[in-house]
């Protein structure tokens, strides 16, 4: 049962009300499982799940990425750095 550390940003952090969360996942859990689990535990974030991406060790990872004990997982909403000029 690996426990992973989650870090939340921007609107997601506000919705959940925390910057950091620990979550215990079943053995063999992937990023895809984590996404489902987040929707179960935090209904407020469900609307954002389809556009949320995940990063482990500062790299974006796909849904198939296997999570391990002690992983630090960043939950990345659509990014919006810079000014608004080119959007």
């Amino acid at each position: 049962m690996p426990t992973v550390s989650l870090r939340l940003y921007a609107g997601l952090k506000d919705m959940v009300g925390a910057r950091d969360l620990d979550l215990r996942l079943p053995e063999g859990a992937t990023v895809g499982h984590l996404r489902e689990r987040l929707g179960d535990e935090y209904p407020a974030v469900r609307a954002m799940l389809s556009v949320l991406v995940f990063a482990v060790d500062e790299e974006y990872v796909p849904s198939s990425h296997l999570l391990r004990e002690g992983d630090h997982v960043a939950l990345i909403p659509p990014v919006s750095g810079g000014s608004r000029c080119s959007s």
Binding site: R7, E59, L66, A74, S80, G81, G82, C85
Partner: protein
């Protein structure tokens, strides 16, 4: 030079960091906080970031720029925290022997920073606020093992 800071951005050191003696042009982009968006008056912006990964991804953008354009120097700075109208949120500097490549490479770098660097802005209006959802970064394809 790749920097994320809560302090006002100064272009001088960034230009100095990318310029070398073989450079004929430095293109410098300022992203500046504007007082309205979609017809709504903006009071100020608040930026959040994943600092370590933001630096990693800015460097990745610089690597892409160097692979695509004949440039000799690339640097970027992004501000975080609360920014007032008129303040600079993003600086990108690209140095090249010639101006055409410097402009094109700088344009590309700004677009990519806005696509993949984990930084977010919240607009604060008179009557509310909203985190702006911009671009969903590209994620590597699924594989059976990872």
């Amino acid at each position: 030079m790749f920097v994320l800071t809560g302090d006002p951005l100064d272009p001088g050191p960034l230009v100095a960091a990318v310029r070398t003696d073989d450079v004929g042009a430095v293109a410098l982009f300022f992203g500046v906080v504007r007082n309205e968006n979609l017809g709504r008056a903006v009071r100020y912006l608040e930026y959040d970031a994943y600092p370590e990964m933001a630096i990693t991804k800015m460097k990745e953008v610089a690597g892409e720029v160097r692979a695509k354009f004949p440039v000799t120097g690339v640097g970027a700075m992004h501000r975080v925290g609360r920014l007032e109208i008129g303040e600079t949120s993003l600086l990108v500097a690209v140095a090249s022997p010639h101006r055409v490549e410097a402009f094109a490479a700088c344009h590309y770098a700004v677009d990519r920073i806005k696509q993949i660097v984990p930084i977010w802005k919240k607009e604060v209006w008179e009557d509310g606020e909203e985190w702006i959802e911009g671009n969903v970064p590209d994620v590597p394809p699924d594989s059976s093992r990872s």
